[in-house]
Symmetry: C2
Amino acid sequence: MNSKIERLIKQFARLPRLGTRAGQRIVLALLQDKTGRAENLANALLDAAATIRPCPICGILTDADMPMCEFCRDTARCNGQLCIVRDLSDVWTLEKSAVFHGRYHILGGLLSGVSGITPGDLNISNLPERIKNENISEIIFALPNTVEGKTTQHYVMSVIGDVVGLRFSELASGVPLGGDLDYLDDGTLSLAFDGRRGL
Amino acid sequence: MNSKIERLIKQFARLPRLGTRAGQRIVLALLQDKTGRAENLANALLDAAATIRPCPICGILTDADMPMCEFCRDTARCNGQLCIVRDLSDVWTLEKSAVFHGRYHILGGLLSGVSGITPGDLNISNLPERIKNENISEIIFALPNTVEGKTTQHYVMSVIGDVVGLRFSELASGVPLGGDLDYLDDGTLSLAFDGRRGL
């Protein structure tokens, strides 16, 4: 195989959710396209890499020529609620469902002994200041319902400490909408039982 | 969502085997990476798009500064066998298994009424000349075992016509290695019966 093509396939294959076969298909589609798709994609990527950076306040990727992101600029979003998420993709998911109208804080990962992710790798240190500056009254944890998610949640709570009037909450656990009990794992079932609501 | 990021995600989402969710994951991974992965990928893509083109003889993607690809340059490959495939990825698959040592001819697609692919879209016209120039004695069709594959095969045979001493063959159909009859479709089973071998 041509060495340039081979190297390009390897670079694509290392991207999340891809592998060698998918990388081959993608590289073939791009290089065989006669409408300049490869150049367009490459230039869009270069442009974004040069002009996008994380918002210094919340960590959402935004234009580098703006002092902060669209969420932190939007005063209507300053409603006292701060939703803590792992990743920007979680923000996109929550925004699509339009369930939350406050501000976000992106940790950029979860504490993990296995992957060697320590508190220093996460966007936590400016949280106490944010809570004061933006008059936050409720912290909502929307982290994955996993050991890493819960560990990170406890750690973040310990960093924030006791602030008068500050409430903490987390997303409810239980049976998903349309979820069949047959297909539910024991852990979720047990959480759904523990959290059962009176009628 | 930032419009630049949105556009980049859409471009990735349109690539083969990807969708919006995979596009989001990939764009996030690239833009959040601090080792210059986005720039490296973009530059490798620009470089390949500028310097790679199909071999004028067989259609395999190769360096534009070479008159022909490595297969067409390799005289040891000129053994009288020509394998006709749909796509460069089929060449890679065949090369990996090292079952074929002749030359390839890439059609660049299959005839399809549904997708509107006509003979003019395929790399067929120079085939009769190739057969003469390279002293081909056997044409091996390694096209998908589908209606489109068979239609294309018949069409290519009609274009080549009767050449004295030229044999045609196609890959065998049947039960795959390790294949369980339970999981086999009726079509394959019927082909395997029709093509049964005496012991």
